[in-house]
Amino acid sequence: MSVLDIRDLNLTIGSTPILKNVSLSVAPGEILGLVGESGSGKSMTALAVLGLTPPRATMTGDIRLNGRVISNAPDALMQQVRGREVGIVFQEPMTALNPVMTIGDQVAETVRLHRKVSRKAALAVARSVLDRVGLPADRFPLTRYPHELSGGQRQRVAIAIAIALTPKLLIADEATTALDVTTQAQVLDLLKRLVREDGMGLILITHDLAVVAETCDRLAVMKDGELVEAAPVGRIRTGMTHPYSQRLLANATHAPVRRSRPQAGAAPVLEVQGLVRDYGGAPVLFGKSKTFRAVDDVSLSIQPGESVGLVGESGCGKSTLLRAILALEPPQAGRVRVKGRDITAARGAALKTIRRDIQVVFQDPYGSFDPRWKVRDLVAENFHLLDTRPAPSEARRRIDEMLERVGLNSSAADRYPHEFSGGQRQRIAIARALITEPSVICLDEAVSALDVSVRAQVLDLLADLSDRLGLSYLFVTHDLSVVRTVTDRLLVMQAGKIVEQGETAAVFAAPSHPYTQKLLAATPDLVRNHALEKETVG
């Protein structure tokens, strides 16, 4: 018998259909990967199972948990179901835990909500569950607080809370998305082990096909509230049937066509020498305050037309390095030269002149624009860097031209940023960066927050712009799968230092530093699997 059986689930909010005829089932000990882009309805499906749909939602269809119908069940029953029969782990481990409660109390709380046991007994259960999720007593006593743990450890606590009562079904909603690749691999291993040991069913909700390919038994692809494909996970390799699933896979492994090659002999457009960036600790009354070295003697250079990837896990110092390169923060030592001019020493008009040549696109397509400004004014902001600003009519013409060049309509100029989708906003950000015709563009996780289809389009745009304008890129990212297809060279950063650099293909084929090897091994790799499969089939 299936743990979970959903038949013809329909859900509407107001008059908007959110889920359309969704049918799926999960068997004991099975891992189902629920895949789709944002807004496809995958999270709403999970919330429907938990009876946590929004108040104005109306639902029809059948949800059976261990044979019992729970669709539209009263809240009192669902409170019993949640936690005891279905556990859930969310994306953000920091907000899922209560910061002022110890981890032991948080796990024990779930136990005591559902079982009439003493606090002591509940804490004993908490101890054994925390042991199971890989948080042993000697290093992680029950009295620890969430802020004392790393992101991966917090996610383990969240998993411990979810499985404390050995539910028959566990739902992990993007539970590893916010984690670094090595941590993600460990948490996925943990989930697999728990499923095997307890015979639980697991629904792994994710946007990442590679994670599904490496973790799940079956996959279900959702698009616009519909389940378009349900198949064994091997289908990812042998070929999925629905055009949308095929497109999803193609986009996930998308490699933009790049015609231009970096000019090897030319003078570098960006040159970083011996850069050091310290963060001061809290000031102390006597003696020197402790400092933290975020960037430690980093050197790199980028040739005209070259695309360089800088990868590393969170906290490795890559964002700090980027801010120092952009002269947003002063370095303690070292030099950054843009086309031979030192940006770290420049001030005033000289700095403005250098800034024309180096621009940036940030990660968050929502946070990178002042919400009160129109697109025209946002793009025009960089005209501030020019000695003589173009006349209003000339500025208007150049902005319209630039918006069209990045694939937007010129009518976009008179709208506000919130009227655009994430992908369109990244195009606006690229237009803003390009308006002064720079030589280097730094991309700070610029495609990480985008859906794969949008990501593929933005990567194509970047490749095309590089070909036509001879642009160089510095891709700063934690996601190895992004840089693989779009960069010529790769720099790997760990604890403030560059530990490995080389041609991208060479680094992927034969990583020399142990950290790079670890990073590559942990990265779910759709490209390699896919290519291998094609070779053997062809």
Binding site: R323, L326, L328, L351, K352, R355, I358, Q359, V360, F362, Q363, D364, G367, S368, F369, D370, P371, R372, E381, N382, H384, L385, Y416, H418, A429, R432
Partner: protein
């Protein structure tokens, strides 16, 4: 920490006005209208002494009664509204006008400038407004100007703190970083990006400080440090009513009610504005 909410123009237009804002604005408008009418007309001359009619209880002739000099209480309250509103308004203006730029400066520059501004702030904060008013009076003699200066100075650190705290959060936003890579100076970014995104917060704070200012003015007048007779003042009316509360309670109740209505109106306006500008509250409605 206060979270700054970015308000997009079209969502603002779509949002429904909270009930507290509507009620608050009606009350406040009533008080302002009263003050304006008092400029051209009051039932009696608020300074006219009529001993024959002294200590009349509220009646058709004197709606709010008369005091021990036979002055009409309604006329005095109407005329006093001007005094209270002007003192509070100018004091909030001084506080916001000096405090906000200081807060923006502290957030933009950081380091020792931030430290200097904030420690100076602590100093003013720790200094009682009443003591300040006494000191000013000692130098300049009593008067409404004293009240304005004392309350205004007391408002400066409030606005500095609000502006600095919220601005610090905004300085780490990517759109501010983008403006910096566009070569804009910190002062220009403060004016173009930071201040507009703080506006909703500052307006709410101003409404709250306005209410506090009305009470503070009444308090200073009560102890004789505010507007001097014969200029009518709610606070002094309360002070004078003190000894007569047993047989002429309306003398205390009427100005008390005036203060109550004004402060309630302004507080509700402040609460309502906060709700209007906060999309999280808006969604729950």
């Amino acid at each position: 920490m206060t979270e700054v909410v970015a308000l997009s123009p079209s969502t603002a237009a779509r949002a429904r006005w909270p009930l507290s804002l509507v009620v608050g604005l009606i009350l406040t408008a009533g008080v302002i209208a009263t003050a304006l009418i008092a400029l051209v007309w009051t039932p009696y001359d608020p300074a006219a002494v009529d001993i024959a009619a002294k200590l009349t209880a509220p009646s058709a002739a004197h709606w709010m009664g008369t005091d021990h000099f036979g002055r009409d209480v309604l006329s005095m309250i109407m005329a006093g509204a001007q005094n209270s509103l002007i003192v509070a308004l100018v004091a909030v203006g001084v506080g916001a006008g000096v405090g906000t730029p200081l807060g923006l400066l502290a957030a933009a520059r950081g380091g020792w400038i931030d430290e200097l501004v904030m420690r100076g702030n602590d100093l003013i904060f720790a200094f009682p407004a009443l003591l300040l008013a006494v000191m000013i009076t000692a130098v300049m003699g009593p008067g409404a100007i004293n009240a304005i200066i004392a309350i205004g100075v007391f408002n400066i650190p409030v606005f500095t703190r609000v502006a600095r705290g919220a601005a610090q959060g905004l300085w780490t936003r990517e759109y501010v970083l983008a403006a910096r890579t566009a070569g804009k100076s910190r002062a220009l970014i403060s004016v173009q990006h930071i201040l507009p995104n703080l506006m909703s917060l500052l307006i709410v704070q101003a409404a709250i400080q306005f209410a506090v200012g009305i009470v503070a003015e009444a308090g200073l007048s009560y102890v004789g440090l505010g507007a001097q007779p014969p200029a009518p003042s709610w606070g002094r009316m309360l002070a004078e009513a003190q000894t007569m509360i047993g047989f002429a309670p309306w003398l205390a109740i009427m100005p008390g009610l005036a203060i109550f209505v004004t402060v309630l109106g302004l507080s509700l306006t402040g609460d309502g504005l906060r709700d209007l500008f906060d999309p999280r509250v808006r969604r729950e409605r």
